[in-house]
């Protein structure tokens, strides 16, 4: 194309090579700027506040700093949902270790616990994050691979199945805590494994480590209407979460540390759920562990769950016999 001899490199560039270089640089810069275009969609309100960014780890906060953090959360809730929330930091009690027991002979799979949990803990509604999943299991096996999450019979229970709700087992040897690279999740003295949502970096290692699939990730901005917000909040449990953090069942920490029962238990119509302090020998759960036939899920993985399944002596068999022996329903059921 060009027969004109090129100027030696040491001399000033020609007009043509300068323009060519300038066009290349300009188009390269415009491509770089265009690649950053998605940043325009960042809402300044989605960015962490300076106080939130500088906030210390939960365990390192002084009482005054905790009060400031709770106040910040309260203001954020008011701004985001127009709700006047009561945000607290409820601490564990000495001499209390929580244990859950669930009676598989009683559970009918109505999923009321699932949705009561969502109502109580301010989970995202779309997608709806559910801590509890109810497995419909064929009679005669505890192989969870054969469980079905999506059963939709007109009414439950179905005669050929039993129902096994699974939620966080609050393990005494929790693999989710071990894998967290930033110590954003830990086990409290009363046995509840909690997450500091302001410390979590969203790597989801804990979700992968949990053998019970008990942790949930906020893939999207949690969607929650103002009238759905439960205004009674606590730092470690049901305060609204931002996008990109893990969350999990805390046995309704804000309720149970004040002596009340978890929301899933309150919603159970058949009394299949039992909760209490296992260190109290008079408690219902201590009695169940002593007297009932109890098992834990995936015992072989060594997680030492605090969530126990038990069943009653007699249970109607799949062929329908057993239920009406001696004219009585199973154990008065």
């Amino acid at each position: 194309m060009s027969t004109v001899p090129q100027a030696p490199a040491s001399e000033a560039p020609s007009r043509r090579s300068f323009l060519r270089g300038a066009i290349t640089v300009a188009s390269g810069m415009s491509a770089a700027v265009a690649a950053l275009a998605p940043l325009r969609e960042i809402d300044s309100e989605d960015l962490p506040s300076i106080e939130g960014f500088l906030q210390k780890h939960y365990k390192e906060m002084s009482p005054a700093e905790m009060q400031a953090a709770l106040e910040r959360i309260r203001l954020e809730v008011r701004k985001r949902y127009d709700v006047d929330a009561i945000v607290r930091d409820v601490r564990p009690t000495e001499g209390v270790e929580f244990v859950y027991a669930l009676n598989l002979s009683r559970c009918i799979g109505c999923r009321r616990c699932v949705h009561a949990c969502v109502e109580e803990n301010n989970q995202s509604r779309a997608p709806e994050i559910q801590y509890i999943r109810v497995l419909e299991m064929p009679r005669g096996t505890t192989d969870v691979e054969r469980g079905n999450h999506h059963y939709d019979h007109p009414t439950v229970p179905d005669e050929l199945h039993y129902y096994m709700p699974v939620q966080c087992h609050q393990c005494a040897n929790p693999p989710c805590v071990k894998v967290c690279p930033v110590e954003a999740t830990w086990q409290e003295p009363d046995g509840i494994t909690v997450v500091d949502y302001d410390w979590c970096i969203g790597c989801r290692y804990c979700e992968a480590a949990c053998p019970y699939w008990a942790r949930r990730f906020n893939y999207t901005e949690p969607e929650l209407a103002s009238e759905q917000v439960n205004p009674l909040m606590s730092y470690l449990s049901n305060r609204p979460r931002p996008v990109g953090v893990m969350e999990k069942c805390t046995f309704c920490l804000h309720r149970v540390r004040e002596g009340r029962m978890p929301a899933c238990l309150e919603a159970c119509p058949v009394g299949a759920r039992k909760f209490g302090n296992v260190l109290d020998p008079e408690s219902e759960v201590a009695h169940i562990l002593r007297e009932k036939r109890v098992f834990v899920l995936k015992e072989d993985v060594g997680t030492l769950p605090r969530f126990f399944y038990y069943f009653d002596e007699r249970y109607p068999r799949a062929d329908g016999t057993g239920a009406d022996e001696a004219g009585a329903a199973p154990e008065g059921g």
Partner: protein, 222 residues
């Protein structure tokens, strides 16, 4: 000369950059369609269990037209047949579905209708109905006493509040004690659980891991 040889290549570089810029800008405008399932639509009202069953308390009364009467006020005046099980003219709303226990006087005391009757003929108050049930349902009675049968709500910590325990007839209709079936609330819709595959209530969600699994043997006990 190398500069001359690469000249067409160098001319293409700005074009590539401009094409990239156009693509980035268009891509940023395109909204990302996340597969977000719709809300389940469950409200607090759906979770209301309602008040527990209202059993007859002491003294047992029923509304008879405009009058509120105890059982004795009628039954002491009008004798009822010795074995009224097959021919109820009164109390027709009672549906008796209690297994082999299908005689009124198995539980109701014939001599005093304001009482219930134990197997040995002793009368007990309606409030003590658990003693009556316990005669047949021993394991349930034992479990109920220790709190492992029946609902316990309210407080687990007695120093802070009282637990709420329900009696036999606050959950079970003594005439038809089997628990009624419930309509299940909607199932999971979180992203990772996916949607139920088409094909009926027992369909399983599509699990990419199952591609490597052998086809399942038919389940024997279905």
């Amino acid at each position: 000369m190398p500069a001359v040889a690469s000249e067409p290549v160098r001319a293409v570089i700005p074009l590539v950059f401009l094409a990239l810029a156009t693509w980035f800008v268009r891509d940023a405008r395109r909204s990302v369609a996340l597969p977000i399932p719709a809300p389940s639509g469950v409200t607090r009202a759906d979770l209301e269990l309602g008040p527990p069953r209202e059993p007859l308390r002491d003294p047992p009364t029923i509304q008879n037209g405009p009058f509120r009467q105890t059982c004795r006020e009628c039954h002491d005046v009008f004798p009822s047949p010795a074995d009224p099980q097959t021919s109820l003219l009164q109390h027709t709303h009672v549906v008796l579905d209690h297994g082999l226990n299908d005689r009124c006087y198995n539980c109701h005391r014939r001599e005093n209708r304001d009482q219930l009757v134990l197997h040995d003929g002793r009368g007990i108050a309606f409030d003590e109905v658990a003693l009556l049930c316990a005669q047949c349902h021993g394991p349930a009675w034992r479990d109920w006493q220790s709190g492992t049968h029946g609902r316990t709500t309210g407080y687990w910590d007695r120093t802070r509040g009282e637990p709420v325990r329900l009696g036999c007839t606050q959950c079970h209709d003594p005439h038809a004690p089997a628990f009624p079936p419930y309509v299940p609330l909607p199932g999971p819709s979180t992203l990772r659980m996916g949607r139920a595959a088409e094909g009926g209530p027992h369909a399983r969600p599509e699990n990419p891991l199952e591609k490597w699994k052998r086809p399942e043997e038919p389940e024997a006990h279905r």
